[in-house]
Structures are given as structure tokens and as C-alpha cells.
Symmetry: C2
Subunit: 486 residues, 2 copies
Amino acid sequence: GRPPGHVPRRRHVRALPRGRRRCCTACSPAPSPLTAALCPGQGTRDHPPAQTALRDRLLSAVVSCFKRHGAAAIDTPVLELRETLMGKYGEDTKLIYELQDQGGELLALRYDLTVPFARYLAMNKVTNMKRYHVAKVYRRDNPATTRGRYREFYQCDFDIAGQFDPMIPDAECLKIVHEILSDLQLGDFIIKVNDRRILNGVFAVCGVPESKFIPACSTVDKLDKVPWEEVRSEMVGEKGLSPEAADRIGEYVQLHGGLDLIERLLQDPKLSQNKLAKEGLGDMKLLFEYLTLFGITEKISFDLSLARGLDYYTGVIFEAVLLHQENEHVEEAVSVGSVAGGGRYDGLVGMFDPKGRKVPCVGVSIGIERIFSILEQRLEASGEKLRTTETQVLVATPQKHLLPARLKLISELWDAGIKAEMLYKKDPKLLKQLQYCEDTGIPLAAIVGEQELADRVVKLRDVATREQVDIPREKLIDEIRRRLEP
Amino acid sequence: GRPPGHVPRRRHVRALPRGRRRCCTACSPAPSPLTAALCPGQGTRDHPPAQTALRDRLLSAVVSCFKRHGAAAIDTPVLELRETLMGKYGEDTKLIYELQDQGGELLALRYDLTVPFARYLAMNKVTNMKRYHVAKVYRRDNPATTRGRYREFYQCDFDIAGQFDPMIPDAECLKIVHEILSDLQLGDFIIKVNDRRILNGVFAVCGVPESKFIPACSTVDKLDKVPWEEVRSEMVGEKGLSPEAADRIGEYVQLHGGLDLIERLLQDPKLSQNKLAKEGLGDMKLLFEYLTLFGITEKISFDLSLARGLDYYTGVIFEAVLLHQENEHVEEAVSVGSVAGGGRYDGLVGMFDPKGRKVPCVGVSIGIERIFSILEQRLEASGEKLRTTETQVLVATPQKHLLPARLKLISELWDAGIKAEMLYKKDPKLLKQLQYCEDTGIPLAAIVGEQELADRVVKLRDVATREQVDIPREKLIDEIRRRLEP
């Protein structure tokens, strides 16, 4: 197909048939060609309040898991020096957004949160850190918005940096993926696990020269999308491996299982002779031991076809995928790929250190946009309406000329920390005010009319039951607090 | 001086004297010239955990005020089409970061959150909305990091869009500024208020031609930094106003006061004849009435020198400044300018609508980076240490070969929603584990040794008091929850 990023300029306007103009799949058809200019850039989108509320709920579930595991938050700039990002992403380097040279430094938008984290560690000489970072990253990829793939999207990363005993932090990363996917009730899932050292060992014993490990790796990575025959022909054709080597690789990379498979491969006459593979298999065995103690091996699959695209992984790698399931509520299920992934990258920090000092790291990234697509579709199907505000009380008046009374009362509520709104009209009709409560889910209305002012009370109305009682003005705030208690 | 943005390339490396290399004021001196490349871009910065924790606390105070006033959150992309941003910021347009043309659309980084909000309203045909947005914006300005001025920084915006009765939403924006600055205990402050219509009326009655209103406005805006004489000479010199016009303007723009001043100007023989000024003064009087009901006029100053830089304001404008105060804890006070500002912009949405339909808007932006600088300096001076994690329990073992016991117990705690950590070592010393609690502020340690395992108990230790008791394993989670209750 077309190389990613090579989109003819202003295609989103020209390519549209007459009468049905829209900028991109993210925005609705617009009546005038002029409005096309209003669209946010291709592959990006606005989040209206309902989506933002859902996304905030999702992000806070992820963040609370990261905090449960003792991570601290850091923040790094969206703008990185170009040279910081170059040579870290293999083929995907062409997907980096570069800023125009307007004088000053040459800048680019961050492509992920991992490389900035490694830069941060090296620059600050931090050798030991457990951090999370939830922020947007940028990729000039071909957007596939229906599958939750955008050019601007959130990443939720948790990483453990430091020299520790083997597989303890790695096991915690997998536990985190398990906790998050279980918490969010996304349905059945499996976490595939492999190790770059095992893969490299496989390539070595199958007769692949070391210079071709990385290309072979990126070809193996396609096994979850295309059948072995296609992968084999790419290996022999594009990547220049011998047919015999490809066939030998094929025997290994189609294996998956659990502890039994690890034991079998540890006995494998060829693989057990390879130092890298032996190390990787030994650690994989240890990892499974720890995951057994965590009680999560049921969802873990040691899968030799898992390779992961990025160059910087050096040890354990993993990827969580949702298993297909029938969903009675959703007519057409969102097709999603992996919803979480990560691995060990022991060499990346050293690339930024002038003396090459290494800081071993392992981390996980939650594919929040894909999960968001699923939850959004599920919410839509359920017909449930998410509140977009948290307003507790609407301050209302039943007669004219009472704006001062409303302003005075609402100011008292705000100062007491109560979430309150009023309509921005001098003399709104009471019905309109109550309708606003029902439309936006405000549970209480505090009504001040002439009689209430004279009696020094406020009529407190429960919007759902329509019950209302007079509350002495000085007791109003306590009464509202009491009613809003969970 | 040098025009903003024209920074010679790689100046941050070359300009450094030998032996004391650092990339920018944000990062510490580095021992090797190589590490200069590790610095984030000029005028941007990393936030380490302690700063991120402080900033999160600050942002959540601001957001909770916005929510108290019934605002919904939206999110728009950092990348906007270049044409969306052009022609909205007057002279400051040159400070917009543009992306390189890599094929596809011509993009730029957003300069503020107001223009994207107006684009959002027009594109989605929203005519009525109260929203907040907390996000980063980008300006290729000369950074002044000690004064909290960066090239990448957070904005916290609250805006009310819609056709309403005059001054009700405007008054709420001022109430919000008052609440936030009071809540954050930043010391004494004043909120200056003016109206673009009054300023334009002043220019008109002083004999300034309409084409010079905007240039005159941006000159008046400098009155808070330079004396009147300098402003006057810029008006006459650069802006080409007549000396008589400038002198007449000078008489007005040096006025400030309250209701009394409004009344006086309403009686002003010249100003009261100008339609715009009369409208503006009438609304200003109404605004003061509402602010009196909110009880906040004490902090409000009607100040004719306030002009605000941006072109898009059409009515009320305001700006909050902290008043100088002696601070016994801080040796050298951070010099900050305005900490909040905003105003009414009734024409901006219409610029994005193909039929020019207007949606009146008023909004406020909290200058979070400046406030952050103050709070950071205050925290440093106080010596208080902010916790960067929320971990409640450290799972520890007192003897060797007990890693499985730790993994099993911590997994139970995580599954119960308790925030727990353990050291990533097979056999850490108990002292090291307890030291870690003290260093990072973890209040409890759950210790499992051989004896505890045999007795089916866990030793729960209060890190501060050093008291420890055996808790039956099945009661541990309840006991931890009980102890952590606020």
C-alpha cells in the first residue's frame, strides 16, 4: 500500500463527494465546504463532554492501579529535541512529527513516553525509579479511527527502572496488566509473553546471521495478523533468509503454552546449547513461578510468535489481547488489536548517557484509546447517559425580579464548597429551571421566592421525587450536605 | 531588543563557559558537553515527581472550583490546522509553533485554549456551553523561567458560551478568580476590570481614528510595566497619534476606582455622549452590582489602564495581580505578573462559522505556571517534603528465602485495593526495608517471617511509632483499612 504519512495535501476536502462533505471519519457531515477548515487535523479529534467524562473515568481507573503499585508521576515536554528521538524506533522513525525550523533548536513531537523517560533518567542521573506517566503522544500514521488508532492519542505508561533481582519487576508489570483489564471488565483476555533473548536464540540456532535478527524479528511480529506461509515468504524474499532457516524458525515460532513448553525448550538439544536462549528460558521459568504466586498464570501464554515492533527491547516482552466474544448489546463489535504491551529495555538509558552507563528498565503501556473505543460503544449500546457535570444544586427563583436573591444564595453555596448552578437569565421560568435539572442530572433545587425570603427559608426540592420542604436559611448548607452524603 | 523566537541555533550549548555547561536555566550544570543534547527544548522542562505532585495538587484545586461552578470538561487536539490559528492573535501570531510540511495538512501547535474552544463551538454548532479545559499550550516566546514563563505551559480555562442577560456570566468569571486565589492562599491580590467598549470610547472622544484603536490599546496595555511618559511617547512616535490625543487619553487611562468612578464617568460630558462608552459603563455598573451581591468588590478595581493584549476581546476584560508582600520565609520573592485574566469575546466563534453566526463568550484563564512558581518556592522555603507516592503498606520479610511469601501477600493486598510496595530484591535486609518506609513516607509495614508464616499471622508495624502487633492473616486487610481511615 501507500507509505504511511504520504497523504496528499487537503485530501480531506477534495476527496469528498458533493453533497456529503466531511473532513474525516471523526466529524459529522457538514453543510458547507467552508466548515471543512474547522475540522481538527486528520487522525485527531475533539472530545466533547460525554467522551471526556468517560475518558477521565477510564484514565483514573488506570492511574489508581499505577498508584496502588507505588508509582510516582513525572511529566516531560511534548516537544523533544529531534536528536533525542532519532534512531530509537527503527522503521517507525518516519512517523515522527517534526516541527518547522523557525530558528532555535530542531524539535519533534514525542512518539511515545518510553524514550523521553529514558532521556529523563540519563539526564538526571536517576538509577532507580518507579514512575507512571499519562499523556498524549504523536504519530504520523495512517489513522484508523474506527479501530481506535489516532495520530494524537493518550498513552498510560508504568515503568520500573533500576538494577534488581531478575523477573520481580517484570512480574509486577504483568500483574498490573491483569489488574487493569480485570477491573475494566473488558471480557476475556490473554497476555502473551516472550523474551527477545529466546527469539534471538531461535534465530541463531536456525542459522540466521546476527545482522538479520532485527529484520527477522519484525517479520515474526506479523504472525498474529497473517498466516505462517506469508511470514515465511517475507523472510525468504524481502529479508533474504534461507528457506531452510525460515522453515526451522517456523517450527519454533508457532509454539505456545505454559511452564510445560518452557521445560520442553530447556531440554531442546539445539536451543539449550545457546547461551542467550538458555538465559531467557531460565528467566521465563522464574517469571512463571512468580506469576503463579500472583495467581494469574491462567491468563498468561508463553508465545514464541510474539516479537513486538520496537528495537529497544532486550528481554521479556508481552502483549495483552482481548479474546473475541459475542456481545448481545453491541451489533458490530469494535475490532481491536492489543490493549496493552511492554517489555524490558536494558540498553535505552545507556544510549543517552555520555559514558553509556546502563539503567535496566521494564515497563508496560496500556492501550487506552482502544479500550476507550470499546467502552464508548458499550455505553452507547446500553443507552446509559453519563453525567458531564457534578452540579449538586440548582439555585432557582419562581417569580420575577429575584436575581439578587439567587446571586446571594448561590454565592453562599459556592463559598461552602457546594457545587451549584443557576440559569444566566434575569427572570427565568421556574419550569425551565426544573427542566434544566432533569436534563443535566442535578439532584436538588434550592428555590427562593418572595414568600421564602420573607420567612427566611429556602424551599429545597428533590428533583427526582419532586418532594419539597422549607429549610431555615441558616440550616440549608448542612441539610444539602446531609442529603448528598453517599 | 531581539525579536522573540530568533534564538541562534544550539546557542544553549555554544554560549556556555567552559567548565560550567548547562543547557538552560531549567537544568543543572552537566559534567560533559555530550549531555547538553539530553536537555528538553529551551523553555520547556521536565517535572520530577515532587513537582508533579505539587502541580497535580494545584490543578486539582483549580478544577474543583470549575466543577463547583457546573462546568463540563472537553478536550481538543494539541495540533490545530494552521489556518485555524492565523489572524487571531495579532502581533503574537509570530510566536506560533508550526509543524514541518511532511505531506498532508499544514499544522501548528495551539497557542491558547480559547481559539480551539471557539473552533469547537462553531464546528459542532454548539450555541450554549459552560466548559473547562486544563491542558498545555505552546508559544515560541523568549522564556523567562524564573518568572514562570515557559514555551510549553499549562492553561486552566473556564468559559461560558451563549446568549444570556448581560453581566451574569461575566460576574461569575470574576467570582471564580476570587475563589481560586483565595483558596490557594497566595496573599493579597487585586482584580483589575475594564471594558474594551469603554477604552474604544475613550479613544474616540480623544480624537483617535478607529483604525488606530487596536494599536493604541496594545500601547495602553504597557502602563502596568512602564510609566505614562513612555507610553505616551510610544503613542505619538510608533503609533502616530497626535500629542493632544495622547494627552487626553492619559487623563482617562490613569484613572482607577470603584462604583464612584463609574458614576463620575457616566456624567463625563464627552464620554457620556459616546454610545460604546455609555454601554460599557452601564454594564460595568451592573457588574459591580452583581459583584456586591457576591461580596467581592473589595478586591475589584475598575482600572482604565487595563487593555489586555489579544485582539479578540469585545467587552469586559479583567486581570488579577498579586500585591507585593514581604515574605519572611522566602529570601528573594518570585516576581510574578498577572496570575489570572480573561474577558468577553463575542466575535470569535463567528469567525469560524461559514455564515458568521455569533456565539457570545466570556471566560477566564488561570495563570497556573506563575502560581506554581510561587507555591514551589514557598514549599522549598518551608522545608516540607511532599510525598510523591501514596503507598500505604510495605510488604517486608525479616529472613532470607521468603520472596514467595512476600509475593503472595502483596498480591492479596493489591487485589483488595490496598496501595502496597515491596523491594525488588530476593533477600533484602529488614533494616533496608524499614528505611525505605521512612524515606518515602509509607505509614505501615506488613512483615512476614518464618514464625509469622507458622502462626498464620502478619506482623503489622506502625512505621512512625515503631509499635508492631501480630494480626491473624484473615483479618489483616480489615485491620489495614481501619488504620488508614482518615
